[in-house]
Symmetry: C2
Subunit: 207 residues, 2 copies
Protein backbone atom coordinates (compact mmCIF):
# COMPACT_ATOMS: atom_id res chain seq x y z
CA UNK A 1 0.00 0.00 0.00
CA UNK A 2 2.32 2.69 -1.21
CA UNK A 3 1.75 6.21 -0.09
CA UNK A 4 0.87 5.04 3.37
CA UNK A 5 3.17 6.71 5.80
CA UNK A 6 4.10 5.91 9.36
CA UNK A 7 3.23 8.57 11.88
CA UNK A 8 6.60 10.21 11.77
CA UNK A 9 6.85 9.57 8.06
CA UNK A 10 10.45 8.61 8.38
CA UNK A 11 10.70 4.88 7.88
CA UNK A 12 11.72 3.74 4.46
CA UNK A 13 9.37 0.85 3.83
CA UNK A 14 10.47 -1.87 1.47
CA UNK A 15 11.10 -1.48 -2.24
CA UNK A 16 10.47 2.21 -2.66
CA UNK A 17 12.39 3.21 0.40
CA UNK A 18 15.39 4.05 -1.75
CA UNK A 19 13.63 6.58 -3.91
CA UNK A 20 11.90 8.08 -0.94
CA UNK A 21 15.12 8.29 1.04
CA UNK A 22 16.85 9.82 -1.98
CA UNK A 23 14.17 12.47 -2.16
CA UNK A 24 14.59 13.30 1.51
CA UNK A 25 18.36 13.52 1.19
CA UNK A 26 18.19 15.66 -1.92
CA UNK A 27 15.50 17.93 -0.57
CA UNK A 28 17.48 18.36 2.62
CA UNK A 29 20.55 19.42 0.72
CA UNK A 30 18.64 21.89 -1.44
CA UNK A 31 16.65 23.32 1.47
CA UNK A 32 19.93 23.89 3.25
CA UNK A 33 21.64 25.47 0.25
CA UNK A 34 18.87 27.69 -1.05
CA UNK A 35 16.19 27.73 1.60
CA UNK A 36 12.78 26.11 1.57
CA UNK A 37 10.89 28.78 -0.37
CA UNK A 38 13.60 29.18 -2.96
CA UNK A 39 13.72 25.44 -3.61
CA UNK A 40 11.04 24.27 -6.00
CA UNK A 41 9.63 20.80 -6.37
CA UNK A 42 11.09 20.93 -9.87
CA UNK A 43 14.57 21.53 -8.44
CA UNK A 44 14.24 18.47 -6.27
CA UNK A 45 12.73 16.31 -9.02
CA UNK A 46 15.45 17.33 -11.46
CA UNK A 47 18.17 16.53 -8.96
CA UNK A 48 16.94 12.97 -8.51
CA UNK A 49 15.99 12.44 -12.16
CA UNK A 50 12.24 12.51 -11.80
CA UNK A 51 9.55 14.57 -13.50
CA UNK A 52 8.07 17.41 -11.57
CA UNK A 53 4.88 15.63 -10.59
CA UNK A 54 6.52 12.50 -9.29
CA UNK A 55 7.70 13.57 -5.85
CA UNK A 56 4.02 13.84 -4.95
CA UNK A 57 3.77 10.10 -5.31
CA UNK A 58 6.06 9.82 -2.28
CA UNK A 59 5.04 12.92 -0.33
CA UNK A 60 1.66 14.52 -0.34
CA UNK A 61 3.10 18.01 -0.21
CA UNK A 62 6.30 20.02 -0.15
CA UNK A 63 5.55 20.70 3.51
CA UNK A 64 5.56 17.00 4.30
CA UNK A 65 8.96 16.74 2.70
CA UNK A 66 10.26 19.56 4.88
CA UNK A 67 8.83 18.00 8.00
CA UNK A 68 10.40 14.66 7.16
CA UNK A 69 13.79 16.22 6.53
CA UNK A 70 13.69 17.90 9.93
CA UNK A 71 12.64 14.73 11.73
CA UNK A 72 15.34 12.70 10.04
CA UNK A 73 17.92 15.30 11.03
CA UNK A 74 16.74 15.34 14.60
CA UNK A 75 16.68 11.55 14.90
CA UNK A 76 20.23 11.38 13.59
CA UNK A 77 21.38 14.00 16.06
CA UNK A 78 19.72 12.18 18.96
CA UNK A 79 21.44 8.97 17.95
CA UNK A 80 24.84 10.65 17.78
CA UNK A 81 24.51 12.22 21.22
CA UNK A 82 23.14 9.01 22.70
CA UNK A 83 26.20 7.21 21.37
CA UNK A 84 28.42 9.72 23.12
CA UNK A 85 26.55 9.39 26.38
CA UNK A 86 26.76 5.61 26.19
CA UNK A 87 30.54 5.63 26.00
CA UNK A 88 31.56 8.70 27.97
CA UNK A 89 32.63 8.76 31.60
CA UNK A 90 29.54 9.90 33.47
CA UNK A 91 31.69 11.34 36.23
CA UNK A 92 33.69 13.68 34.04
CA UNK A 93 31.24 16.39 32.99
CA UNK A 94 33.78 18.47 31.16
CA UNK A 95 34.94 15.57 28.99
CA UNK A 96 31.37 14.60 28.29
CA UNK A 97 30.47 18.16 27.38
CA UNK A 98 33.47 18.43 25.07
CA UNK A 99 32.47 15.35 23.15
CA UNK A 100 28.84 16.43 22.94
CA UNK A 101 29.79 19.87 21.64
CA UNK A 102 32.04 18.37 19.02
CA UNK A 103 29.37 15.90 17.95
CA UNK A 104 26.77 18.63 17.78
CA UNK A 105 28.98 20.82 15.58
CA UNK A 106 29.87 17.89 13.35
CA UNK A 107 26.16 17.24 12.94
CA UNK A 108 25.03 20.75 12.10
CA UNK A 109 28.07 21.68 9.99
CA UNK A 110 28.00 18.65 7.73
CA UNK A 111 27.43 19.89 4.16
CA UNK A 112 24.17 18.01 3.84
CA UNK A 113 23.00 18.32 7.43
CA UNK A 114 19.27 17.84 7.83
CA UNK A 115 19.58 19.22 11.34
CA UNK A 116 20.79 22.51 9.91
CA UNK A 117 17.57 22.70 7.90
CA UNK A 118 15.70 22.71 11.17
CA UNK A 119 17.84 25.57 12.42
CA UNK A 120 17.45 27.77 9.38
CA UNK A 121 14.00 26.89 8.05
CA UNK A 122 11.95 26.55 11.21
CA UNK A 123 9.73 29.43 10.22
CA UNK A 124 8.85 27.74 6.94
CA UNK A 125 7.43 24.74 8.75
CA UNK A 126 3.65 24.89 8.83
CA UNK A 127 2.01 25.41 12.19
CA UNK A 128 0.36 21.98 12.08
CA UNK A 129 3.67 20.17 11.68
CA UNK A 130 5.51 21.94 14.44
CA UNK A 131 4.25 19.89 17.36
CA UNK A 132 5.67 16.67 15.92
CA UNK A 133 9.06 18.25 15.36
CA UNK A 134 9.10 19.98 18.73
CA UNK A 135 8.58 16.62 20.42
CA UNK A 136 11.81 15.25 19.00
CA UNK A 137 13.57 18.57 19.48
CA UNK A 138 12.71 18.39 23.17
CA UNK A 139 14.07 14.87 23.30
CA UNK A 140 17.33 16.13 21.83
CA UNK A 141 17.60 18.99 24.29
CA UNK A 142 16.75 16.71 27.19
CA UNK A 143 19.89 14.72 26.42
CA UNK A 144 21.89 17.84 27.19
CA UNK A 145 20.06 18.89 30.33
CA UNK A 146 21.92 16.76 32.92
CA UNK A 147 25.37 17.78 31.69
CA UNK A 148 24.47 21.44 31.51
CA UNK A 149 22.87 21.36 34.91
CA UNK A 150 25.80 19.59 36.48
CA UNK A 151 28.30 22.01 34.96
CA UNK A 152 26.10 24.84 36.15
CA UNK A 153 26.08 23.60 39.72
CA UNK A 154 29.85 23.30 39.60
CA UNK A 155 30.11 26.93 38.54
CA UNK A 156 31.57 26.05 35.15
CA UNK A 157 28.56 27.33 33.19
CA UNK A 158 27.30 30.67 34.42
CA UNK A 159 24.33 32.98 33.99
CA UNK A 160 20.66 32.41 34.74
CA UNK A 161 20.07 28.62 34.90
CA UNK A 162 17.04 28.80 32.61
CA UNK A 163 19.11 30.53 29.93
CA UNK A 164 22.27 28.46 29.98
CA UNK A 165 21.03 25.89 27.50
CA UNK A 166 19.90 28.67 25.18
CA UNK A 167 23.28 30.37 25.37
CA UNK A 168 25.09 27.10 24.74
CA UNK A 169 23.05 26.35 21.64
CA UNK A 170 23.39 29.96 20.50
CA UNK A 171 27.16 29.79 20.68
CA UNK A 172 27.14 26.56 18.69
CA UNK A 173 24.24 26.92 16.29
CA UNK A 174 25.31 30.34 15.10
CA UNK A 175 28.25 28.59 13.45
CA UNK A 176 25.82 27.58 10.73
CA UNK A 177 25.90 31.23 9.67
CA UNK A 178 29.66 31.69 9.46
CA UNK A 179 31.36 28.30 9.16
CA UNK A 180 33.02 27.59 5.84
CA UNK A 181 34.54 24.15 5.15
CA UNK A 182 37.59 25.82 3.61
CA UNK A 183 38.19 28.00 6.66
CA UNK A 184 41.38 28.00 8.69
CA UNK A 185 40.01 25.97 11.59
CA UNK A 186 38.62 22.46 11.60
CA UNK A 187 35.32 21.59 13.19
CA UNK A 188 37.23 19.84 15.97
CA UNK A 189 39.22 22.99 16.66
CA UNK A 190 36.11 25.14 16.65
CA UNK A 191 34.45 22.73 19.05
CA UNK A 192 37.38 22.79 21.46
CA UNK A 193 37.47 26.56 21.32
CA UNK A 194 33.74 26.90 21.87
CA UNK A 195 34.01 24.86 25.05
CA UNK A 196 36.87 27.04 26.24
CA UNK A 197 34.69 30.06 25.54
CA UNK A 198 31.68 28.75 27.43
CA UNK A 199 33.26 26.99 30.36
CA UNK A 200 34.48 29.11 33.23
CA UNK A 201 37.89 27.94 34.42
CA UNK A 202 37.68 25.33 37.09
CA UNK A 203 38.41 26.70 40.54
CA UNK A 204 41.02 24.06 41.34
CA UNK A 205 44.12 25.92 42.44
CA UNK A 206 47.40 25.43 40.64
CA UNK A 207 45.67 24.34 37.43
Amino acid sequence: MPGTTSKAGIEAAGEEGNRRALLVRTAGRLFREKGFDATTIRDIADAVGMRSGSPFYHFKSKQELLCTVMLVGLEGACGAIEAVLATADANDDEARFRRMVRTHLETILAPDSDFAVLLSEWRSLAEESRAAVVTVKNRYEALWAPVIESLGKAGRLRGEPRLRRLFVFGTLNWAVQWYRPDGALSVAQIAASAVDFMLAPSAVAGR
Copy 2:
Protein backbone atom coordinates in the same frame (compact mmCIF):
# COMPACT_ATOMS: atom_id res chain seq x y z
CA MET B 1 13.56 63.77 -9.93
CA PRO B 2 11.73 61.11 -8.00
CA GLY B 3 12.95 57.57 -8.24
CA THR B 4 16.51 58.70 -7.99
CA THR B 5 18.11 57.08 -5.02
CA SER B 6 21.24 57.85 -3.09
CA LYS B 7 23.89 55.20 -3.22
CA ALA B 8 22.85 53.53 -0.03
CA GLY B 9 19.22 54.19 -0.79
CA ILE B 10 18.49 55.15 2.77
CA GLU B 11 18.04 58.87 2.87
CA ALA B 12 14.46 60.09 2.89
CA ALA B 13 14.58 62.95 0.47
CA GLY B 14 12.03 65.73 0.84
CA GLU B 15 8.32 65.40 0.38
CA GLU B 16 8.03 61.71 -0.37
CA GLY B 17 10.36 60.64 2.37
CA ASN B 18 7.41 59.82 4.57
CA ARG B 19 5.84 57.31 2.25
CA ARG B 20 9.19 55.79 1.45
CA ALA B 21 10.13 55.55 5.10
CA LEU B 22 6.73 54.05 5.85
CA LEU B 23 7.31 51.41 3.21
CA VAL B 24 10.69 50.55 4.69
CA ARG B 25 9.29 50.30 8.18
CA THR B 26 6.34 48.18 7.10
CA ALA B 27 8.41 45.92 4.89
CA GLY B 28 10.87 45.44 7.73
CA ARG B 29 8.13 44.39 10.09
CA LEU B 30 6.62 41.95 7.61
CA PHE B 31 9.96 40.51 6.55
CA ARG B 32 10.69 39.89 10.19
CA GLU B 33 7.31 38.35 10.94
CA LYS B 34 6.86 36.16 7.89
CA GLY B 35 10.20 36.11 6.12
CA PHE B 36 11.18 37.74 2.85
CA ASP B 37 9.85 35.11 0.46
CA ALA B 38 6.57 34.71 2.29
CA THR B 39 5.95 38.46 2.25
CA THR B 40 4.46 39.68 -1.01
CA ILE B 41 4.56 43.16 -2.44
CA ARG B 42 0.79 43.05 -2.08
CA ASP B 43 1.12 42.41 1.67
CA ILE B 44 3.32 45.45 2.02
CA ALA B 45 1.16 47.65 -0.20
CA ASP B 46 -1.99 46.63 1.68
CA ALA B 47 -0.39 47.40 5.03
CA VAL B 48 0.44 50.95 4.01
CA GLY B 49 -2.78 51.54 2.05
CA MET B 50 -1.35 51.48 -1.43
CA ARG B 51 -2.19 49.44 -4.53
CA SER B 52 0.07 46.59 -5.42
CA GLY B 53 1.95 48.39 -8.17
CA SER B 54 2.75 51.51 -6.18
CA PRO B 55 5.67 50.39 -4.06
CA PHE B 56 7.61 50.15 -7.32
CA TYR B 57 7.35 53.90 -7.64
CA HIS B 58 9.59 54.11 -4.55
CA PHE B 59 11.73 51.00 -4.98
CA LYS B 60 12.70 49.45 -8.23
CA SER B 61 12.38 45.93 -6.85
CA LYS B 62 11.49 43.91 -3.80
CA GLN B 63 15.18 43.18 -3.45
CA GLU B 64 15.98 46.87 -3.18
CA LEU B 65 13.44 47.12 -0.38
CA LEU B 66 15.12 44.28 1.47
CA CYS B 67 18.54 45.80 1.04
CA THR B 68 17.30 49.15 2.32
CA VAL B 69 15.70 47.56 5.36
CA MET B 70 18.97 45.85 6.25
CA LEU B 71 21.02 49.00 5.79
CA VAL B 72 18.62 51.03 7.90
CA GLY B 73 18.81 48.41 10.64
CA LEU B 74 22.57 48.35 10.55
CA GLU B 75 22.89 52.12 10.62
CA GLY B 76 20.61 52.30 13.62
CA ALA B 77 22.61 49.64 15.43
CA CYS B 78 25.88 51.43 14.69
CA GLY B 79 24.44 54.65 16.07
CA ALA B 80 23.29 52.95 19.26
CA ILE B 81 26.65 51.34 19.94
CA GLU B 82 28.49 54.56 19.08
CA ALA B 83 26.34 56.35 21.63
CA VAL B 84 27.35 53.81 24.26
CA LEU B 85 31.02 54.12 23.41
CA ALA B 86 30.79 57.89 23.60
CA THR B 87 29.51 57.86 27.16
CA ALA B 88 31.09 54.75 28.70
CA ASP B 89 34.24 54.67 30.77
CA ALA B 90 36.93 53.52 28.34
CA ASN B 91 38.93 52.04 31.20
CA ASP B 92 36.23 49.71 32.44
CA ASP B 93 35.93 47.03 29.77
CA GLU B 94 33.42 44.95 31.65
CA ALA B 95 31.03 47.85 32.15
CA ARG B 96 31.40 48.86 28.53
CA PHE B 97 30.78 45.31 27.36
CA ARG B 98 27.69 45.04 29.58
CA ARG B 99 26.16 48.15 28.07
CA MET B 100 27.01 47.10 24.54
CA VAL B 101 25.47 43.67 25.03
CA ARG B 102 22.31 45.17 26.43
CA THR B 103 22.08 47.67 23.59
CA HIS B 104 22.66 44.95 21.02
CA LEU B 105 19.91 42.78 22.48
CA GLU B 106 17.53 45.71 22.71
CA THR B 107 18.22 46.41 19.05
CA ILE B 108 17.72 42.91 17.69
CA LEU B 109 14.81 41.98 19.98
CA ALA B 110 12.69 45.04 19.28
CA PRO B 111 9.43 43.83 17.69
CA ASP B 112 10.08 45.75 14.49
CA SER B 113 13.86 45.40 14.41
CA ASP B 114 15.33 45.90 10.96
CA PHE B 115 18.58 44.49 12.26
CA ALA B 116 16.82 41.20 12.99
CA VAL B 117 15.85 41.05 9.31
CA LEU B 118 19.53 41.03 8.47
CA LEU B 119 20.08 38.13 10.86
CA SER B 120 17.27 35.96 9.59
CA GLU B 121 17.01 36.89 5.90
CA TRP B 122 20.61 37.20 4.88
CA ARG B 123 20.30 34.35 2.43
CA SER B 124 17.44 36.09 0.66
CA LEU B 125 19.60 39.07 -0.14
CA ALA B 126 20.78 38.94 -3.77
CA GLU B 127 24.46 38.40 -4.33
CA GLU B 128 24.86 41.83 -5.92
CA SER B 129 23.55 43.63 -2.86
CA ARG B 130 25.62 41.82 -0.31
CA ALA B 131 28.80 43.85 -0.65
CA ALA B 132 27.04 47.07 0.33
CA VAL B 133 25.50 45.48 3.40
CA VAL B 134 28.71 43.72 4.39
CA THR B 135 30.50 47.05 4.42
CA VAL B 136 28.20 48.43 7.10
CA LYS B 137 28.13 45.10 8.90
CA ASN B 138 31.91 45.25 9.14
CA ARG B 139 31.65 48.75 10.53
CA TYR B 140 29.30 47.48 13.20
CA GLU B 141 31.54 44.60 14.15
CA ALA B 142 34.59 46.85 14.20
CA LEU B 143 32.94 48.83 16.99
CA TRP B 144 33.09 45.69 19.11
CA ALA B 145 36.61 44.63 18.27
CA PRO B 146 38.56 46.72 20.81
CA VAL B 147 36.38 45.68 23.74
CA ILE B 148 36.43 42.02 22.80
CA GLU B 149 40.17 42.09 22.25
CA SER B 150 40.81 43.81 25.53
CA LEU B 151 38.61 41.40 27.47
CA GLY B 152 40.37 38.56 25.68
CA LYS B 153 43.82 39.78 26.72
CA ALA B 154 42.59 40.04 30.29
CA GLY B 155 41.47 36.42 30.18
CA ARG B 156 37.81 37.34 30.59
CA LEU B 157 36.81 36.09 27.14
CA ARG B 158 38.32 32.76 26.26
CA GLY B 159 38.76 30.47 23.27
CA GLU B 160 40.56 31.05 20.00
CA PRO B 161 40.90 34.85 19.52
CA ARG B 162 39.59 34.72 15.95
CA LEU B 163 36.43 33.00 17.13
CA ARG B 164 35.57 35.05 20.18
CA ARG B 165 33.57 37.65 18.30
CA LEU B 166 31.67 34.90 16.51
CA PHE B 167 30.85 33.17 19.79
CA VAL B 168 29.73 36.44 21.38
CA PHE B 169 27.39 37.23 18.52
CA GLY B 170 26.17 33.63 18.49
CA THR B 171 25.23 33.77 22.14
CA LEU B 172 23.35 37.02 21.58
CA ASN B 173 21.90 36.69 18.10
CA TRP B 174 20.43 33.29 18.75
CA ALA B 175 18.00 35.02 21.09
CA VAL B 176 16.11 36.10 17.99
CA GLN B 177 15.03 32.45 17.74
CA TRP B 178 13.75 31.96 21.25
CA TYR B 179 13.01 35.34 22.83
CA ARG B 180 9.35 36.09 23.48
CA PRO B 181 8.28 39.52 24.75
CA ASP B 182 5.92 37.85 27.21
CA GLY B 183 8.61 35.63 28.66
CA ALA B 184 9.64 35.61 32.31
CA LEU B 185 12.83 37.59 31.83
CA SER B 186 13.26 41.11 30.53
CA VAL B 187 15.76 41.97 27.84
CA ALA B 188 17.87 43.67 30.49
CA GLN B 189 17.93 40.51 32.58
CA ILE B 190 18.81 38.39 29.58
CA ALA B 191 21.61 40.79 28.71
CA ALA B 192 23.05 40.67 32.21
CA SER B 193 22.86 36.91 32.23
CA ALA B 194 24.48 36.60 28.80
CA VAL B 195 27.45 38.60 30.01
CA ASP B 196 27.74 36.39 33.08
CA PHE B 197 27.69 33.39 30.77
CA MET B 198 30.37 34.71 28.44
CA LEU B 199 32.74 36.42 30.83
CA ALA B 200 35.12 34.27 32.81
CA PRO B 201 35.25 35.41 36.43
CA SER B 202 37.89 38.01 37.01
CA ALA B 203 40.95 36.64 38.74
CA VAL B 204 41.04 39.35 41.37
CA ALA B 205 41.18 37.61 44.74
CA GLY B 206 38.50 38.22 47.32
CA ARG B 207 36.03 39.47 44.75
